[in-house]
């Protein structure tokens, strides 16, 4: 059974059809990268997986359970599916430690002491243990994004979603974030990401999905897809990002 099973999903904003019968499977341990022009529906699809957006038709199954914005146990579901955003979305008034431990302390009933140990553990995985007492405004963009990843990891997710997480970063800060994601990939985390980092997509992804106008136009292993694009849309897309 695939970890994520997207079946013929459609969604419209008014008369604009942003998802038009999308089907996609993500197996456990896979790194699936969604590429495509802006407006192709890739971020919307990602947000649907986490029930941040309602779908109009079709079905999304995660771990065998149907995902809906009004599904029972939505909050427990979201704890298992981490999402990292383009704009980091750290809480500016909380230290790095409290950003990470806010949800576990409130909802998993761990003590402050256990929280600090948990924060240190996940911060070590993103290489920022020394920033545990800093506030977000005192960190660079790359560091903030790594904290955002650590905050997700602290929830013990079964699946991680990345929505253009390096797009808001200065070029010299992109590498440190991608490295953290590569480490997670190596450790077997299932990941779905929307990205413009073709180098990363090429080397780390187990599957590339090319979206165009709300549809999946091509999918396959990166080497194959980049070497032999079958559709003219993918061919022109590859040419434009190179």
């Amino acid at each position: 059974m695939p970890l994520v099973d997207i079946r013929n999903v459609s969604k419209s904003y008014g008369s604009a059809r942003v998802l038009d019968g999308v089907s996609l499977e993500v197996n456990e341990g896979e790194i699936v990268t969604i590429i495509g022009k802006s407006g192709s529906g890739k971020s919307t699809l990602l947000r649907c997986i986490n029930a941040l957006e309602r779908i109009d038709g079709g079905e999304i199954l995660v771990e065998g359970r149907s995902v809906r914005t009004d599904m029972p146990k939505l909050r427990e579901f979201r704890q298992r599916v981490g999402i990292v955003f383009q704009a980091f979305n750290l809480f500016p008034h909380l230290t790095v430690e409290r950003n990470i431990t806010l949800a576990p302390v409130l909802n998993k009933r761990i003590t402050r002491g256990q929280g600090r140990a948990l924060a240190l553990d996940v911060l070590e995985r993103v290489g920022l243990a020394d920033k545990i007492d800093a506030y977000p405004a005192q960190l660079s963009g790359g560091q903030q994004q790594r904290v955002a990843i650590a905050r997700c990891l602290a929830m013990g997710p079964h699946l991680m979603l990345f929505d253009e997480v390096t797009s808001a970063l200065d070029p010299e800060l992109v590498g440190e974030v991608l490295k953290v994601m590569e480490d997670m990939a190596r450790q077997g985390m299932t990941m779905v990401l929307v990205t413009h980092e073709m180098g990363f997509a090429r080397t780390v992804a187990s599957k590339i999905v090319f979206m165009h106008r709300g549809r999946v136009r091509e999918e396959g292993p990166p080497a194959e897809l980049f070497a032999n694009p079958r559709t003219p849309e993918l061919r022109s897309f590859i040419a434009s990002v190179r």
Binding site: R75, A103, N107, Y135
Partner: protein, 222 residues
């Protein structure tokens, strides 16, 4: 022209102290009522059902567009006809609390609106409840953003408590009127009263600055 004579005033220092304490008490009581109304009202105006939102909007418009003095009279003179008997201090605390509440709702709502939706989304994605997102994610930075406006409104409330003298609540301005009627030293009395109001406001401004530094310690983003 008479020469200035503050000595006579000083003999009524007990009245001045008592009046000052009542002004403080009245301000704090109204601020407490008004802040509670402000927090609940601002949350409801943003996400409550439509009839609740309309009711709150009506309340805000009514309070902000009518004289506070008349509101005070209505609470003190009219509500007893409906069986709600209040002494002048209670009536003043309620009327001024309602007045402060209307402004607080607007101020706090502006603060809540200043927090981008992406912050709420991030909270939801961590599995927080709506209440937890409001309390832990949205409220602290929202309050920081409107803290100067809120404390400014508090100062207006403090000064506005002088209205309560009109229903014989024994606050500072009322004490001034009493002393004047005994001494006929209008200028000296109101100079002293004015000085006390000024000192109170300055003291609160210092207090608010200190509280602000303690409560909002995080550096602001770039």
């Amino acid at each position: 022209m008479q020469s200035l004579n503050f000595q006579q005033i000083w003999r009524y220092q007990d009245h001045l102290i008592d009046g000052t304490l009542h002004t403080l008490l009245l301000t704090l009581a109204a601020a407490l009522i008004g802040t509670a109304i402000g927090l609940a009202g601002a949350a409801a105006v943003r996400s409550g059902p439509r009839p609740v939102r309309w009711t709150i909007r009506g309340y805000i418009e009514l309070i902000r567009n009518t004289p506070s003095l008349i509101q005070l009279f209505i609470v003190f003179f009219v509500l007893p006809n409906f069986g709600l008997r209040l002494n002048s201090f209670e009536a003043a605390a309620i009327a001024l609390g309602l007045y402060f509440g209307a402004y607080s709702i607007e101020i706090i709502r502006a603060g809540l609106d200043s927090i981008p939706g992406s912050q709420m989304e991030a909270g939801q994605c961590l599995g927080l409840t709506r209440w937890q997102v409001f309390r832990h994610v949205v409220l602290p930075p929202a309050l920081r953003n409107v803290y100067p406006a809120f404390t400014g409104q508090f100062v207006l409330l403090l000064l506005g408590t002088s209205l309560a003298s009109q229903i014989s609540a024994e606050e500072l301005f009322h004490a001034g009127g009493f002393i004047e009627s005994r001494t006929y030293r209008s200028f000296e009395v109101y100079a002293v009263i004015c000085g006390i109001y000024f000192a109170l406001v300055m003291a609160f401004k210092l207090l608010f600055a200190a509280v602000g530094r303690l409560a909002f310690r995080w550096p602001v983003g770039r």
